[in-house]
Each structure stands twice: as structure tokens, then as C-alpha cells.
């Protein structure tokens, strides 16, 4: 520190050296620069990995990609709330800034977590529109423009995992897939071509770790950085699966219409 007593930023980071080692807190103090975000603070530590005690340490590991809150890779728990670190501005955060990994997921190292379970869930619920065939199927049915605009909001999901971290029912004692993949079922089922397989997706979320595990704490909709109406999606799927349940039980000629 120079004599002019520059403004500093204090970070407390929950570190973990490997997947199964014990986490520990490490404190860092950096010189303040205007317009810093958590990522630039982490980059500063990477440049000079010395903790507050003046001891040389390993650079803190974190994940990042787009730096504009559309990829979800840099999600972590900042001052107790899961969010993206790229849009977490130091000026707007209370100090010390406490960084933790999203421990709902397996921690790989420091702030990096393994979100594989989310991608497995997307596969489980068939969150895609199948269009491949042995011949050209031609154009699908048109989607009304206003419905497209509505569906666009649901399509903003970046699989960041913040809603899973916020959900009390997603934890090591439960296999609930969480709100994100469920809302994708609503998106795919709203698509005119996707709706041709809607019963398959509904049956998938009526299975293991599916929709019924929701306990309506509604944290997900508060936490979602993209403002996706997750609880509305869940309630809408509750209705769809109620109907599907009766169709399955009694048999129906109207599985997809």
C-alpha cells in the first residue's frame, strides 16, 4: 500500500483445493479501481495471489465465459446470494465481499462447480424439438408472433444453476431436478412442433426427481437473473401433468392434442 491510503476492496473467498478436500476461508485485499466487478477483482488476485496476511497463495479458480450474463458459467454465491459474478459490481456490494461456490453442485475447485446434473436433467426431460428424420419433413406449423415473444422469455434460461441453489428442495438428500429444466419442458411443449411430443416430456417430469418435488417456496422466481416466470411454469406444468395423469390412467386418443 502506498502512503496515500488508497481505497481497497476486501474479498473473503471460500476455497477448496480439490473435490473432496475441506473448504477454508481466505481473505484478500486489493486496490480499488472504478467500475470493478467480482471477475476483475478475481483477475487481480490471479495476477498477484497474495492473501491479506501477505502470504503467497494459489490463484483462486473460477469459471467464466461471456462476461455479459448470458452464459451462466460465472455463477457463484456472492454475499449469500447466488448470482453471476460478471454483473456483480463491487460498487454495489457490501464489504467484505464474500464469495462461495454454489454448493448445491459438486465443487470442483474453489468457485468452480460441476453443473452436469442440470444437463442430465435436460436430457431426461427431452428439452429439444426432434426434427431429424430420414427425409425432409418440411416446414412445421407457424407459431403466432405474440406466442413467440412470450416463449422467448422462457428461452432466456442459461442453465446457470442459480434457481437450483436457491431452492430448498434441491439438495444432497433429494434428487429434485429443480426449476430450470422444468421450465424448459413448458417452453418445448409450447412450440408447435415440440408439442408433437409433449406427452413424452410430461411423463418424464412425472418420473424420478420431477415436478412433484416442488414445495412452492418460490425462491427460484426471486433468484432467477433472467426474470423467467419459473413458478408460473411450474404451476402450468402441474395442470398439464394433472391432465396427463388422467389420460395415462384411463387411456386417451388425445395424447398430443
Amino acid at each position: 500500500m502506498d502512503a496515500t491510503a488508497t481505497k481497497t476492496v476486501v474479498l473473503e473467498i471460500l476455497r477448496q483445493d480439490s473435490t473432496d478436500s475441506t473448504p477454508y476461508w481466505e481473505k484478500f485485499e486489493l486496490n480499488y479501481r472504478p467500475n470493478m466487478n467480482v471477475i476483475s477483482a478475481l483477475m487481480e488476485i490471479r495476477r498477484n495471489p497474495v492473501n491479506v496476511d501477505g502470504k503467497q497463495t494459489t490463484p483462486v479458480n473460477w469459471d467464466m465465459n461471456c462476461l455479459e450474463e448470458v452464459c451462466g458459467a460465472c455463477s457463484m454465491v456472492i454475499n449469500g446470494r447466488p448470482r453471476q459474478s460478471c454483473t456483480a459490481l463491487i460498487d454495489q456490494l457490501e464489504q467484505p465481499v464474500r464469495l462461495e461456490p454454489m454448493k448445491t453442485f459438486p465443487v470442483v475447485r474453489d468457485l468452480i462447480v460441476d453443473r452436469t446434473r442440470m444437463f442430465d436433467s435436460l436430457k431426461q426431460v427431452k428439452a429439444w424439438v426432434p426434427i431429424d428424420g430420414t427425409y425432409d419433413l418440411g416446414e412445421g406449423p407457424r407459431m403466432p408472433e405474440r406466442k413467440r415473444q412470450w416463449a422467448y422469455e422462457l428461452s432466456k434460461c442459461m442453465t446457470c444453476g442459480v434457481c437450483l441453489e436457491a431452492c430448498p428442495n434441491v439438495n444432497s438428500g433429494s434428487d429434485f431436478m429443480g426449476p430450470a429444466p422444468l421450465s424448459q419442458v413448458r417452453l418445448m411443449n409450447a412450440h408447435p412442433t415440440g408439442a408433437m411430443n409433449k406427452d413424452e416430456r410430461l411423463n418424464a417430469i412425472m418420473g424420478e426427481g420431477g415436478l412433484a418435488n416442488c414445495g412452492n417456496s418460490q425462491n427460484c422466481v426471486v433468484a432467477c437473473p433472467k426474470g423467467i416466470p419459473l413458478t408460473t411454469s411450474i404451476a402450468a406444468l402441474n395442470r398439464d401433468t394433472t391432465v396427463q395423469m388422467f389420460k395415462n390412467f384411463f387411456g386417451s386418443d388425445h395424447m398430443v392434442d
Binding site: N169, G215, Q218, N238
Partner: protein, 203 residues
């Protein structure tokens, strides 16, 4: 337990909480309310309930079996949650936590309540009447326990109706869910007044 059945078990859990358990609670509190009209009136009401035809069948199929399923599966649900109201102190998250806390209170309270009343009658130790309840509630500790039990029950039912409406897809939009919040708060207040007034009538 097969995980594939989870969906149906959760839906059944939601349903039996309202029908018959919730309906039974409302009926029970209403019958208790006869106590406000005096011992005579309460005893007549109790006697009427006890002399219903097929009373054992009704008790088992309308009360004990659905209640036990709701209670034990509910305990499993309550203990699978990792509550986080310190992170998200929103109204709904608190309702989520309270639903689980009151559920656990109710398992203890109802077990004790049945043991103290219906079970005593079953083994022929005591008659269920106004004096029995007056004796139980004479102890301030027991009175407090009963107030907590009754308020837990009315809260758990009212909030349970709210989540039933969501779980079955009846209320979907935020507006409809907000309206059902107000309606269920009304149900909670009304049933609590009925339940607590009956308790007060015994002391």
C-alpha cells in the same frame, strides 16, 4: 419406495390433506365450538358424533388412514428440505418453512391429543366429554400446548389449501396465486377464531 411413484404419492399427499383431513379438521373445530354454548351443548354434540352409524369405519377411513399417510409422508417431505429463510426472507419462503414446522408440531400434537382422548375411551379408561377436556385444559401448560396445536393445524390447512391449488395447477398466474393467498389467510383467521374460542370455553 419406487421413485416413479413419487409423483402420485405427492399428489395423493396434497389431496388427502384437503379431503378428508382438512374437511375433518373444519368439522372437528365446529363441533368443538359447541363448548361455547355450555357443557350440555358440547356433550350432546359429542354424543351425536359418537353415535354415528359405522363410526369405527368412518374413523379409520376418513380420519386415521388418510391422516397417518399425510403425517408420515409429510415428515419425509419436511426432512428432505434444506430451509433457507435467512437467504430468501420472502413471504412464500417463510410459508414454506412454517408449513414444515407446523407439520412436525402437528404430528406430535395429534399423537398426544388422540392418546389423551380417543385412545382413553377405546381402552375404557375415560369418557370423552366436556369435563375431560376441562380437566386437560386446566393445566396452563396443556392449554398453551393446545393453543399451539390448534393454530398450527389451522395454519397448516390454510397454507395447504394454497399449495394444493398450485400443485394441481388450479392457480397458475402470480395474480391468481396472490388472490388465493388472501383467501387462505381469511380461512386461517376464521378457523383460528373458531378453534381458539372453543378452547377458551373449557377454562
Amino acid at each position: 419406495m419406487s421413485k416413479d411413484r413419487e409423483f402420485y404419492l405427492r399428489r395423493l399427499h396434497s389431496l388427502v390433506g384437503i379431503i378428508p383431513v382438512g374437511l375433518f379438521l373444519a368439522q372437528h373445530l365446529v363441533v368443538n365450538h359447541f363448548a361455547t354454548k355450555g357443557a350440555e351443548s358440547f356433550n350432546t354434540a359429542v354424543h351425536f358424533m359418537e353415535s354415528l352409524p359405522f363410526v369405527l369405519f368412518l374413523e379409520w377411513f376418513v380420519i386415521y388412514i388418510p391422516l397417518m399417510f399425510h403425517a408420515f409422508y409429510g415428515l419425509y417431505i419436511a426432512f428432505t428440505a434444506k430451509n433457507n429463510p435467512q437467504r430468501y426472507g420472502t413471504f412464500r419462503n417463510w410459508m414454506f418453512v412454517l408449513q414444515r414446522i407446523t407439520g412436525i408440531i402437528l404430528v406430535v400434537f395429534i399423537a398426544w391429543h388422540i392418546f389423551e382422548t380417543r385412545f382413553q375411551k377405546a381402552i375404557g379408561a375415560q369418557e370423552v366429554n366436556f369435563n375431560m377436556m376441562a380437566d386437560i385444559l386446566a393445566s396452563p401448560l396443556m392449554f398453551a400446548f393446545y393453543v399451539i396445536g390448534v393454530v398450527s393445524a389451522t395454519f397448516h390447512l390454510a397454507n395447504g389449501i394454497w399449495s394444493f391449488l398450485v400443485s394441481w395447477g388450479i392457480t397458475q398466474s402470480p395474480t391468481s396465486q396472490r388472490i388465493s393467498t388472501y383467501v387462505t389467510i381469511g380461512i386461517f383467521l376464521a378457523l383460528t377464531v373458531v378453534g381458539v374460542r372453543a378452547l377458551l370455553a373449557f377454562v
